[in-house]
């Protein structure tokens, strides 16, 4: 492995000081001159026809500047299948449907005005379970699709399917079989900073929007389309991303509140801000999708997997966002986690009158790994093989191609499994009974981008200034995960400047080149690969120019040095002859000759070279733009084939738990996480990513659930929706990073943002089974479920 100066070393984040000082500006902190406050009137019913909306009282309230409804504004369609409207026209399909909105001079007046809007409904019967939604004669959520074609059922018209090998042959070859149905709940991203935006038009009707988004460029496309729908074709949107108070997938789509702010801003001619309260965020922002997964797996008498059959059913909610494409990720572990020759995967999504769902960290993978890794333990038990040995026997290997066509480059799964077993003291702790036990689970995830859109690319501009600063313009989004930290280190390392000379500019579609969005653990992988390309291009230019300037400038250096050190004898060295582009090196902002003597005068400060080049006649400035598109493929999701990522991340987590059989309480004694990260870029930031993801995994495993009754969110606050607090995370977490040095990765690194929560829940469930012999197949694993299972067993 190469020796790096900055990569792999502990470094604090460039955005941390402002955040620690309270000087980072989130959407909540931003104001624009003349700004109004928007507020949305949501539906009172989960399914109803809108008969009449009376806005007259709200309009008369002092301080109100606009009241809008679908009737008073142009129709804006949006969403993955364009089945959603910014303001609902004839019908509401869930409680969070937006029926009207106001803009007022302060938030209190806006809230009061919303209360004054009266809506008459004709209630319709609702559908709240995906199974019910598929029954014949069930009420239709959408009578027509976005194109106006009649719909006859509640199935979402998206196909995710895979079939490889010969399933029947695989079943014939199986000696042991395990079958189960596993479910996962809706959970909320719970960003500490709630969602919001400010929309503002200039006098040419171009829009600027400060948006809490992870996809500034796809959002620009969506908003431009909306402008067109508003009768402003050809007008442009500039998306500016402020500091984000977390995102975790919630910013992967555009939202009705953003279109409503745009409509209000256009209507009033003034900037309009909409920020969700915590209650609104819980009730009206799209959470992680729930899932029901049926899985059957078999293995032969030696424990080798022979087949895997998977059926997924997802509650899509009332509209379609990116959450609907979770199966595109689910099919990755389904086909490719552990070696299995015959695979069947099929997913169905159905509309209901529940809240519609969106992306959340892991994007289908935690849901599917929950089912798969629980079932792996069940099959191991059937075959009477230790679950660790069973996984080792079926593990993936480097340089293999999986049934989905994933081209595995490096694969550290073996090391991850072994590390967890060793650190958990597996053989000793396993099957001890006595209410404590150990369990493990593994994962595969995209680690080299994830092509779920036509382009998976990421552009980057690197602009050098007269002072030797490297100004970076990149379209990826820093949402707290540490993108700007690793990007700073990558530019410093690849270009050869000090990290404090690297300036990452705010993400802005007006100044940054295109990037598909920050999701699929792709931020660091893409940005750092782009940074390396850009740095190499600039180094080539710098070294070309140094051929001319290095001898001249260092001669001046020498003169000055001799004045200060009269007795100094310079070594015999022909600087002019040695000044060839292939012999230069740039490090920490100084150019020098690689094999030359390291004399203090025989180096040239980068800023000085840049100034010399700038200010000569016909001078020039140095900057470069690159567009990195990773070597991966957009899979055919109907066939379930395609190498979705350039490389894949692996990992294993293990848990040791104690279960109180009187109360059903699970106490985690410790957790071990071993992750194949390719290469550690910044150990401190990486640990933070895994600790944080693992905590979200613990919440997912044991208590998080967005409860919905007849479509109504029943726990829209932190009192009733529990996320892990410091008391719950009161056990040691032992992390180990396996460096497989992937050739596609920047400096060898793979994406790591999501993997940390993918196997957490099944690792804990498997440990609970080891401890008390009950298998919970429905998340979260609450004390009530454990008690009920213990009772049933007796």
């Amino acid at each position: 492995m190469t020796d790096f100066i900055h990569i792999g070393k502990k470094a604090s984040r460039p955005d941390a000081p402002d955040k620690a000082a309270g000087k980072a500006h989130y959407i909540h902190d931003l104001e624009r001159p003349g700004m109004l406050y928007g507020k949305i009137k949501f539906s009172d019913h989960p399914h109803a026809r809108i008969k009449h909306i009376d806005t007259s009282k709200a309009e008369r309230l002092t301080g109100v500047r606009a009241v809008i409804t679908a009737a008073s504004t142009p129709e804006i369609r949006f969403g993955f299948l364009r089945d959603n409207l910014a303001l609902k026209k004839d019908k509401v399909r869930h409680y969070r449907d937006e029926v009207a909105a106001v803009a007022a001079i302060d938030p209190e007046i806006a809230e009061e005005a919303v209360e004054l809007i009266k809506v008459e409904y004709e209630p319709l019967s609702g559908v709240f379970s995906p199974l019910e939604a598929m029954e014949e004669g069930c009420p239709l959520i959408h009578e027509t699709d976005a194109q106006g074609r009649t719909r006859t059922d509640n199935l979402v018209p998206l196909k995710f399917h895979h079939q490889s090998g010969d399933l029947e042959a695989g079943k014939q070859a199986a000696k042991y079989i395990a079958e189960g149905e596993y479910s996962t709940p809706m959970v909320q991203q719970c960003c500490l900073g709630t969602a919001g935006c400010i929309a503002e038009f200039d006098m040419s009707s171009n829009l600027t929007i400060w948006a809490k988004t992870q996809i500034p460029f796809l959002a620009q496309r969506d908003f431009n389309r909306a402008l067109s729908d508003m009768g402003l074709p050809g007008k442009n949107t500039r998306v500016i991303v402020p500091t984000l108070g977390g995102a975790f997938g919630s910013g992967l789509d555009t939202h009705a509140y953003e279109y409503i702010a745009i409509l209000l801003a256009f209507e009033t001619g003034r900037p309009v801000k909409i920020v969700y309260t915590r209650t609104e965020e819980f009730a009206n922002l799209s959470p992680r999708q729930s899932s029901i997964t049926k899985i059957i797996q078999g293995c032969d008498q030696n424990g080798k997997l022979t087949f895997r059959e998977v059926e997924v059913l997802q509650d899509n909610g009332a509209y379609t966002s990116w959450g609907a494409t979770y199966p595109s990720v689910m099919m990755m572990p389904a086909t490719s986690l552990y070696r299995v020759p015959h695979v069947y995967f099929n997913a169905r999504l159905v509309y209901t009158n529940n809240t519609y769902c969106q992306a959340m960290r892991g994007y289908g993978n935690p849901e599917h790994t929950w089912a798969l890794e629980s079932n792996m333990d069940e099959l191991a038990e059937e075959a009477e093989i230790d679950p660790f040995d069973f996984r080792m026997l079926n593990r993936n290997h480097p340089n293999e191609t999986t049934p989905m066509g994933l081209k595995v480059s490096t694969c550290g799964l073996k090391e991850c499994l072994e590390t967890v077993a060793r650190k958990l003291d597996w053989k000793k702790k396993r099957k001890k009974g006595k209410r404590s036990g150990v369990g493990m689970a593994s994962l595969i995830h995209v680690g080299g981008g994830g092509r779920i859109y036509r382009s998976d690319a990421s552009g980057l501009i690197l602009k050098l200034d007269d002072f030797g600063n490297a100004n970076v313009f990149h379209g990826g989004v820093e949402m707290g995960q540490g993108l700007h930290s690793v990007l700073t280190l990558a530019v410093a390392e690849a270009l050869g400047v000090k990290p404090e000379r690297v300036i990452i500019n705010p993400t802005d579609t007006g100044t940054c080149p295109w990037d598909v969005g920050t999701h699929a653990s792709r931020g660091a992988f893409m940005a750092c690969n782009a940074a390396i390309l850009a740095a190499n291009k600039l180094r080539t230019k710098i070294f070309e120019l140094a051929e001319e300037f290095f001898p001249r400038e260092t001669e001046q250096n020498l003169k000055k040095f001799l004045e200060q050190n009269p007795g100094y004898k310079p070594p015999k060295f022909d600087v002019k002859k040695a000044s060839r582009r292939d012999r230069f090196e740039l490090r920490d902002g100084f150019i020098f000759i690689k094999e030359g003597p390291r004399e203090p005068w025989l180096q040239l400060e980068l800023g000085r070279l840049l100034r010399a080049v700038h200010f000569r006649n016909q001078g020039q400035m140095l900057s470069t733009e690159v567009f990195y598109d990773p070597p991966n493929e957009l899979p055919d999701f109907e066939k379930g084939l395609g190498n979705i990522s350039a490389t894949y991340a692996y990992g294993t987590q293990g848990a040791e738990v104690e279960v109180d059989t009187e109360t059903g309480e699970v106490k985690i004694l410790r957790m071990v996480a071993a992750h194949d990260v390719g290469k550690v870029l910044n150990p401190m930031a990486l640990k933070g990513q895994i600790y944080g993801a693992l905590a979200q995994g613990v919440g997912y495993a044991l208590y998080e659930e967005l409860r919905s009754q007849q479509g109504k969110i029943m726990n829209p606050n932190f009192r009733d929706y529990k996320i892990p607090r410091v008391q719950e995370m009161n056990f040691p977490v032992d992390l180990e990073f396996i460096e497989t040095d992937d050739s596609y990765g920047p400096f060898g690194a793979k994406g790591v943002a999501e993997p940390g929560l993918v196997p957490t829940a099944p690792a804990i469930a498997n440990a609970i089974y080891d401890a008390v012999g009950v298998r919970i197949r429905d998340l979260p694993i609450t004390p009530e479920k454990i008690l009920a299972a213990l009772k049933n067993r007796k």
Partner: protein
């Protein structure tokens, strides 16, 4: 009905007109322009709005503004040693990787400060107790606990 109140904010006396229904966070973030204090839930459940009032860590979203009269209030903006120099606790948060999205950070740091002011050498248990009202969704708390321990060590050296 508005009433003028005065209190000590970050070492200086401030006078501000307050409406009866306003919460301390409203006047801090509004007329006083101290947006470092964050509102994460408005219900006293997340701790993002934590400030120190007369030495105690308090959720400013639950504290009636009128009751600030005559009190001493410290917000995140009041922690810096000088204009450009952060306090030991703030630096420890930066150096130990305790900050990700940063939205919980000001509140978290204020809770840590209230603890270290009253208990300079806290046990891990005491640190957990002091931070129990502060939610973080990014970090899993491991590096936050480390940062508070590190700050305690450094402050001990400074005494």
């Amino acid at each position: 009905m508005s009433k003028e109140i005065s209190f000590i904010l970050n070492g200086s006396e401030v006078r501000v007109a307050v409406e009866g229904h306003q919460r301390l966070i409203d006047i801090l973030r509004g007329p006083l322009g101290q947006t470092g204090t964050k509102e994460g839930c408005g219900e006293g459940e997340c701790g993002s709005c934590t400030v120190i009032i007369d030495g105690r860590a308090v959720n400013s979203c639950l504290f009636p503004a009128l009751e600030a009269e005559g009190k001493t209030v410290i917000t995140i903006e009041g922690l810096q040693e000088t204009k450009n120099e952060l306090s030991v606790i703030q630096k420890s948060f930066i150096e130990e990787g305790a900050i990700q999205c940063g939205f919980c950070t000001p509140g978290m740091i204020m809770s840590a400060k209230a603890l270290l002011d009253s208990s300079p050498a806290p046990s891990e248990e005491e640190i957990r107790d002091a931070l129990q009202g502060n939610l973080c969704r990014c970090t899993g708390y491991v590096q936050i606990i480390e940062a508070v321990k590190e700050a305690a060590r450094k402050l001990k050296g400074k005494r």
